[in-house]
Symmetry: C2
Subunit: 430 residues, 2 copies
């Protein structure tokens, strides 16, 4: 990585990534001399427009799609919200997504299917519809047969994240897309015109997992620049031709009317560069990260045989290690590690996850006392063999210290379960 | 200005502004070492969170508002769309904007009022509701009495831009807010609980016009960083306490649930710095720009007495000159000027305005043959006495050249209206 890394070690690449120097370089001209509004009428503004469209073409190329199918957004959350408009079919909407006068047509009967372990953005969007949450197994894996069962006659959208952002499990998206294709076929045979689309949020994936749209077999794909060493608040939604998207932000008609607002040219150019690099270096980087991750995992499991590693053993983001230390308080661990310059996460870093238990860990059946001691260690370009090993030492030392502290306290209490097993004293006793 | 300006002169500040070096400096740390997700649990991420909230406080302070009332968005278009959710009152929505389960409550009867000369974003949002478009006079001015007449018993939102982006006319917002206040009072007296809110898009204004929320008397205000030498795709919506906004982008629950998605910390910090500078330098800059603008206007009117200047003579953006040369083709002028390094606009630079006549010029009653020869010259920090005078010379020369060309053609044709008055020859004649 091209970044000066002070005296700290970053193990939270799944929450945010630093801007790559090459991305910054690509963006720079559009933040300085080429600041023109791409819709302005003079030639230098056309250059800006061309750069923007070249970025769109680069993004499309990187995922094996056509430029006209890519909508550039202000991040994955917006992309996901836009994807869900494909479910919000209303009488009068054409397949071209044309909005009837006044946008007042009545919603048709509609149902969406997603999983119990999606990101808050997907779960919030699904909550606006009648919906089914497909369960996952203890490895966080979705069974395509369960998806088939969840699809009703009025289901119009299936949205399943390619890789989970907490435990890293990678879903069998290709097999799920096969299920979706079969349902479409059945509907077609029955003369039922109800559409069915498959969307996947792959925000955590580019750079570690193949995100080619044809390989995945999806109809819509969400990607995010901020997770792949690109600029913040830039994302894309790819939607295959014919998916009837509707704008959620109305105005000047940019992005073929699907996303109004003056284009973020520098952001798009940076995103394109970041995605290109992510895709090009994917195989090597995935190999490198999984080696680092596996060695960290081995080291911690050897020292703490009771620790629980979540996520699928094989189908997991190469750079992600979700590990739980039963009985410990992860928040304390975060602070202790941070004091020594090691930055780790505990789960999804988003506002909705503050002070709540993880719905992902609940879905895979992790006991609360195990879940509460969970660290999400996510490696990336800032990770080296040396700093990962060093971080492993520190984590082991602090975990050991916490267990010893716990034992001391329990001895003092005279019971290993003092606070848990004793009934609460009645209020007002003191 | 702190920008190297090559061999060109920029007269389109209303379409886009270059990033100020001081803004860039303020943003830099959050694009490099402080890249952390502000919701991450370790202390350096808290620093990022604090910087973000300090930026919010700075933005609020600059407009005389409270930080908790400011929602940071991905630009003015999004802010406007968010403001219009205040009109979309549904049974079950509380004044706190709390969203009932599934967001499926029925819309109440609702009507919105705006003007015929708003930006496409406002007009698109209004189009989703029954709405009235208040007319303007030939100077583009709204009469508050017309606003009063347009407000119906079910009107919940009035949205009127502070300054028009094409002709620069500044509306009597304070007087309009008084009308809104009176209607509220009447409703209250009649025991009618229908709310009424006043929103203003002031994207073109900060830095040239007072945008203090108390002075303006509005309930909601939209501002945009990209028009005030700040970063692209960053905006804010200020909404007074009690305005029942509803999210249009759902997810992680950032921005008090009103705008999900990982925060654009660098963008917010840059916006705050840009707004602070805009407000601080406003009086001097407005004076400087209006002097430059008036001198440019005098020079062109002196040479072309038939030219038409639009917008209110006094209540107009200091840096904006909308001038029409009857009979000329503005697009040709743009190209001729551009070839000599002078970049001018013809109207609003947004995708919806391509190849269409300006609804603003139509609303002020400009004849098509006058409207078609319109230039929007917008001055700003890149404008100096010298380069404005030089641009004035060039514009005068090219306009003169175009009139001469026109006259030559007309002489050749033997009629001053040859192409307009002769019936079209039948097809296939040649």
């Amino acid at each position: 990585m091209h970044m000066e890394q002070g005296n700290w070690i970053y193990l939270d690449h799944a929450a945010a990534t630093p801007l790559d120097d090459r991305v910054r370089e690509a963006m720079a001209p559009f933040e300085t001399e080429l600041f023109f509004n791409p819709s302005a009428p003079y030639a230098p503004a056309w250059d800006v427009r061309r750069a923007f469209e070249a970025a769109r073409a680069g993004l499309a190329h990187a995922i094996g799609a056509k430029p006209a199918e890519v909508v550039i957004t202000a991040g994955a959350t917006e992309s996901i919200n836009l994807a869900f408009t494909a479910a919000d079919a209303r009488a009068g909407y054409g397949a071209d997504g044309e909005v009837p006068d006044g946008d007042k047509a009545e919603p048709a009967a509609v149902h969406v299917v997603t999983t119990a372990i999606e990101h808050a953005a997907v779960l919030s969007c699904a909550a606006a519809f009648p919906h089914a949450l497909v369960k996952v197994n203890k490895h966080g894996l979705v069974d395509p047969r369960d998806v088939r069962i969840a699809i009703r006659s009025d289901t119009r959208l299936v949205s399943i994240g390619l890789a989970n952002n907490e435990i890293g499990t990678i879903q069998p998206l290709r097999a799920i897309s096969e299920v979706v294709r079969q349902v479409r076929q059945e509907r077609l045979s029955a003369g039922d015109a109800t559409p069915l689309f498959l969307h996947s949020d792959a925000s955590q994936c580019a750079g570690q997992v193949d995100v080619n749209t044809s390989t995945l077999g999806v109809d819509m794909l969400t990607l995010n620049a901020a997770k792949i060493y690109g600029p913040k608040q830039v994302g894309l939604l790819w939607a295959a031709r014919g998916v009837p998207l509707r704008p959620i932000v109305h105005g000047g008609g940019q992005e073929r009317g699907l996303r109004s607002g003056t284009e973020n040219v520098a952001g798009a150019v940076g995103f394109a560069r970041a995605l290109q690099m992510a895709v090009e270096s994917r195989k090597d980087e995935a190999k490198r990260l999984s080696a680092l991750r596996d060695s960290l995992q081995r080291r911690l499991l050897k020292e703490f045989p009771d620790a629980v590693v979540s996520g699928h053993k094989k189908h997991r983001l190469p750079g992600l290690l979700h590990i739980s230390f039963p009985g410990l308080d992860a928040e304390r661990l975060v602070y202790l590690l941070e004091a020594q310059g090691v930055y780790v996460g505990t789960g999804a870093a988003c506002a909705a996850n503050k002070a709540t238990h993880s719905h992902v860990l609940e879905a895979i059946g992790l006991e609360p006392e195990v879940a509460d001691g969970s660290l999400r260690l996510s490696l990336g370009r800032l990770s080296t063999e040396k700093n990962t090993a060093y971080a492993g030492d520190l984590i082991a030392r602090e975990v050991q210290g916490e267990y010893e502290r716990l034992e001391r306290n329990q001895t003092l209490m005279g019971s290993s379960n003092f606070w848990d097993t004793e009934p609460k004293p009645p209020k007002g006793l003191w």
